[in-house]
Structure formats: C-alpha cells, structure tokens
Amino acid sequence: MSENQSDMIGNLTREDLIQLYRNMIETRFFEEMVSSLNIQKGIPETAHLCIGQEAIGVGACYALQKDDYVVPALRDRSIFLSRGVSAAILMAGVLAKVTGPAKGKWPAHHMGDLEKGIMAASLVIGSQFPLAVGAGLAFSQKGTDQVCVCFFGDGASNRGDFHESLNLAAILQLPVIFLCENNFYAIDTPTSKSMLIEDIAVRAESYGIPGMIIDGNDVLAVYHAVDQAAVRARAGEGPTLLECKTYRMRPHTERLQEDRSEEELEYWSGKCPIKRFTEFLYDHDYLDDNLEKKIKIETDGMIEEAVRFAEDSPYPGAEELFEDICADSEYREGWLCMK
C-alpha cells in the first residue's frame, strides 16, 4: 500500500475532484455529528460510523451511473450521501423519526431507496451478496447495461453466501462488482484470527473472476478500480472482486468499547483518506484555503439544518405499526386479512 495519495486523475475534471472532496467532508461531518448526538443525548440508531473509510463509498459511487444500483454494507453513510439521499432524511433516520427512511421503521444505515439506486440490506452480516446477484439477474433479464456494486466487510467474506453468490454471479456472468472494505476487524476479532490468507482478493480465483487489491484510503484509486470493473461488467464480462484495504477509526458501533493499540490508531490516522486527498488537492492547486473553508462552512450548515429537521420531526404514529407489510391486505386485531 502506498503512503501517498495516487495522482491518477484520468478523466476526472477539477469539478469532479472537488465533488469527491465535498462528499468525503459531508460524510465525515455527518458521522461526527451522529457521534456527538449519541454522546450528548443518546440516539435510537446503533451508530456504525464510517470515519476513516469515507474514500470507499465516495469513490465507488462516483464511478457509477445514475441508474446503477448499490447494496451498502453496515458502515456506508458515504454511499447514501453520495447517491443523493439528503442529510436531513438520513438524520431523521438516525433519530427514528417518521420523516426518515421507511418512516422510521427501519434503521437508516441499512436503508433502501430504489429511485436513488440503493438496495436495502438486512442487519445480518453478509446476507447482501445474493440480493446483489439478484440485481445483476434483473439487469440481465431486462437487457440493460446497469451494474450493481455489493459492499461488504472482511468478516462477511467468511459467510457461505459470499461463496455461493460470487460463484453464481460468475457462472451467469452477471454485472456485479463485489467490493470488500477490509478494515481488518470483525468487531474486535482481527482477520488474522478468521482467515489464513492475507488478501481477500485471492478468493476471486476460486470463482474464475478477477480480484484486485486497492488502497481503500485513496479515493482516486477506489474510483478508478470501480470504474474499470463497471466497464467490464457492462461489456458482459462478468463480476469482479475488489478488496479495499482500509481502517475504521471508531469502534464497531458507538455502543461498544474497543481496545486497539495507540500505535495502530496513530499509524492509520496518518493515512486518513481525507487528509491525504486534501494534501493532494492543495499540491495540485485544485483546492485553496478559501474553497476549503467555504465547503466546510456549507457542510456545517447542511448538517445543522439536518439535525434541526430531524429533531423537529415526529415519531411514526401508532397507525404505522400495521402499514407496509403486505401489498393487498390490511390488518385487523393484529391479523393479516385480505382487503
């Protein structure tokens, strides 16, 4: 892994680079606000913060078309913001308000929004693989050139669904990109205790598909890797496994305490994806003090407005208990009855 930000700008314009920067800042500020609300007042959401991993969701989503789909993993606020879910709706979700995703009935960090190309996943780690294969199957049924990116962590790659799904996507040559965010821990179990291989990407070989290792704290490297895998998928050449090496700077959830070494935390904070990209943008004169300040002030304002909206929103009403369960039915006395 290189210590330095790659300078692969490729087809990206100055505007693109600043948008990537903005998306990472928005994600970081949003997560910091969630953390602070959690400490100050407590929140219904069990926060799985993506601080330290922002480059992956931001870089990957930027490589996608509007009609592509993603299946987020559990630590991917960057994806929701990048795909255009408003901070206000997300924050309402964090507070379990009726204005949030699924009217507050489902945690926002696993939300789905089909109009924005986001598929909901369950809270069961590694169960999202088959859904992503299904998205690829639907594109192939309809003959479109859409792709689906399936995000997951290192721990999920030990699930049977990982094996079954990569194999199934491979034999059907489906347009699915399996994107691993390897942050080296499943809660507090290190990958060294859960697998005997260094790199999850090598598992691709057993399914006859390409596997690539990427510096997951390098937003441009992530962008280009997903871009290339998407080109491949759209050309009908099938799935790719991408392994982004990264690190989470927070515990698994804000409800858990973890004991990791100061040395390790310090090492990775030196590789902070935002810090590295900021330096890169300064070095190449894409960003200066004024623009940085402007983006941060605007983001602060947006997050404050999101909190205000979420706090002012009501909780879901009692009538919501029996809504959105079956299509053509109603509930009487807690019982499913046909209309």
Partner: protein
C-alpha cells in the same frame, strides 16, 4: 374443464403465466433437462430459453436471495426449491429479506416472488427429505403460505400467486402430483385467503390441508354410513387465512377437528385451535382435537413411516370420539 393431474395443472399454470408475462422466469436445480425432480416443468425448456428457465448450482441461499433481489427490481421470479426440507438453507433470505423488504423500504418496494417446494412423507426418503415445515412459515410476518390440495386449486392458486405482489411459499404435497381432477381451461384464478368447503356437513368441521383433505374426504364417506355428517374445509392458503369460512362452519357444527401431516407441537393445527378458542368458544360443544404426525423425525423404514403418517382411520377414530 379438462381432466388432468396435479402435476399437469402446475405445469399449465407455469406455462400460461410465463407466456402472459415476459417478466416471469423460473430458477432452480435440474430444470432444463429434467423439469425438476418430479418433472413438473418437463418440456418447458423447449418453449422457454435460458433467460426464462435458469439452471442453478446447489446454492439455495444465493439463488433464493437472488430471486428476492430480482423481484425488487421489477421481475417475477419463480424459484423451484425442490424439497421443502431445503427451506432452512434459504431461511435467512426468506425470513430476513423476502418477507421484510416491503417494510424496510417503507412500502416503496415489492417482492413478487413465488418459492415452490414439494413436501410430505410417504416415499421412504428419510427425515430430511419428507418434512412438513409450513408452521415455520406462518410465523413470519410478511410471508404468504399456500398449500393446494386439488389439480384445479393448484392451477388457480399458482396463477394468482405468480401475479401477487408479495413473497409466497407455495407448498405442493408430493403424493398429490399424480392425482387427477377437473381443471378449468385458460384463465382461472383463486384469491389467496379464500378457503374452500370441500364437503358440506352438519355434525363436525374438519379443517384439513393438502393430502389430508383427501384422507378426510375418504373418512367422511365412511362416517356418513355411520350417520355422522362431516364438513371439510381446506384453507388453501394458511397465510392469509380465511377464518370466516371456518368460523361459520363451527357455528353450524359445534365441533372442530384439524388434520395435517406435520408433527403436532407448534403446528398449524395449534394455531387454528387457538383461534377457535379465542373466537368461537361459545359455539363449541366438544374440545377441539388434532390429527397430526407425532413429534418425531419422519422414519425411513416403510412400516415405521406408515405408522408415522396420520391416516383416514385416525380421522375416523377422532371424529367418533368427538361425536358420540
């Protein structure tokens, strides 16, 4: 009307719906060459190409989950799961995904998915190829469960299930595949949640499912000769359940017996008995009884397996105890 087997009725429903709607497709193991283990889909591969009938590797969780994903994005998959004993392999995708997606999207997603599976004992296949697991499924909000007993019902209910916008587990008793009966030609739909009175009677209500419907009908013929007039109700879909039809029958007969092939504890019969005691207690003239399999694994050896399976005689004995 034309006479056909239960197997042919399933096939007719599949062909009609696949011809009618290009978004309907089938996936499962050994489909294209064989048409599934019981050859229900035999010959369909001649009519539908590999994009409509897909052979799957032995990866039940992946292909059931893939069907969920594909259903959310605008297609109507039909999964042929083979043995219903394979349900546990895909249970995460069924319980945590298929049946919860509408809710997780706040009503903005549908999962129009049918999972077909055959079930039941009687072919000496052992305890992980012979079970009746429907009770697990009705305990999962968001999931519908259908269990037809006749060729006409299986056609009408399968066509309706394929057009339904919710996930459905569609359970076919393997010993019914060769059963013959009259089936309406062409468009024939049966609403989910509509029970059918298979025999009218005044002395006792038997709620029976799948193959047990036929054993109950045989028992009723014998009981009639003994002066007992039996009413038989087939719920046809266990979820949603047409309680009203059962209730009206209990009001008339004052007695309720439930007959299913699954083992007793925590079974569908327990639920019907519980609802009856909550809502029809005042109409009951005798305690509710159940004719079910015992709480043991399904035995392999044929004589033992026959002891396990609830019979017509078990129904007759139970009815005679209740109507004395």
């Amino acid at each position: 009307m034309h006479e056909m087997t239960y197997r042919e009725a399933v096939q007719e429903a599949l062909i009609e719906e696949m011809q009618r709607d290009p978004t309907v497709f089938m996936l499962g193991e050994n489909l294209r060459l064989r048409g599934g283990v019981y050859q229900v889909a035999k010959g369909l591969a001649d009519q539908f190409d590999e994009s409509r009938i897909l052979d799957m590797p032995i990866s039940e969780s992946a292909f059931v989950g893939a069907a969920v994903g594909a259903a959310i994005l605008g297609t109507r998959p039909i999964v042929d799961l083979m043995f219903s004993d394979f349900l546990p392999l895909a249970m995460d995708q069924i319980v945590n995904h298929a049946s919860k997606m509408r809710y997780m999207y706040g009503g903005k997603a549908s999962v129009p998915l049918v999972i077909r599976a055959f079930f039941g004992a009687g072919t000496s296949l052992g305890c992980s190829h012979s079970q009746s697991l429907e009770a697990w499924l009705i305990h999962c909000p968001g999931l519908k469960v259908v269990m037809p007993s006749t060729p006409a019902d299986v056609k009408g209910l399968l066509k309706a299930s394929i057009r339904d916008n919710d996930p459905i587990v569609f359970l076919e008793h393997r010993l019914l595949y060769s059963l013959k009966g009259d089936v309406p030609e062409g468009e024939y739909l049966i609403s989910l949640g509509s029970a059918d009175v298979k025999r009218e009677g005044t002395d006792i209500t038997i709620v029976a499912t799948a193959y047990m419907v036929h054993k109950a009908l045989d028992a009723a013929d014998i009981l009639e000769q003994q002066g007992i007039d039996v009413e038989i109700i087939d719920p046809r879909s266990l979820m949603p359940l047409d309680w009203d039809t059962i209730f009206h029958s209990i009001q008339k007969t004052g007695r309720l017996l439930i007959a299913h092939e699954a083992c007793k504890t925590g079974g569908f019969g327990a639920e019907i008995a519980a609802i009856a005691s909550e809502k029809a207690f005042g109409y009951l003239d005798a305690p509710v009884k159940r004719v079910c399999a015992p709480d043991v694994p399904v035995p392999f050896s044929p004589p033992l397996e026959q002891l396990y399976i609830p019979t017509k005689d078990d129904i007759i004995a139970a009815v005679r105890e209740m109507v004395s």
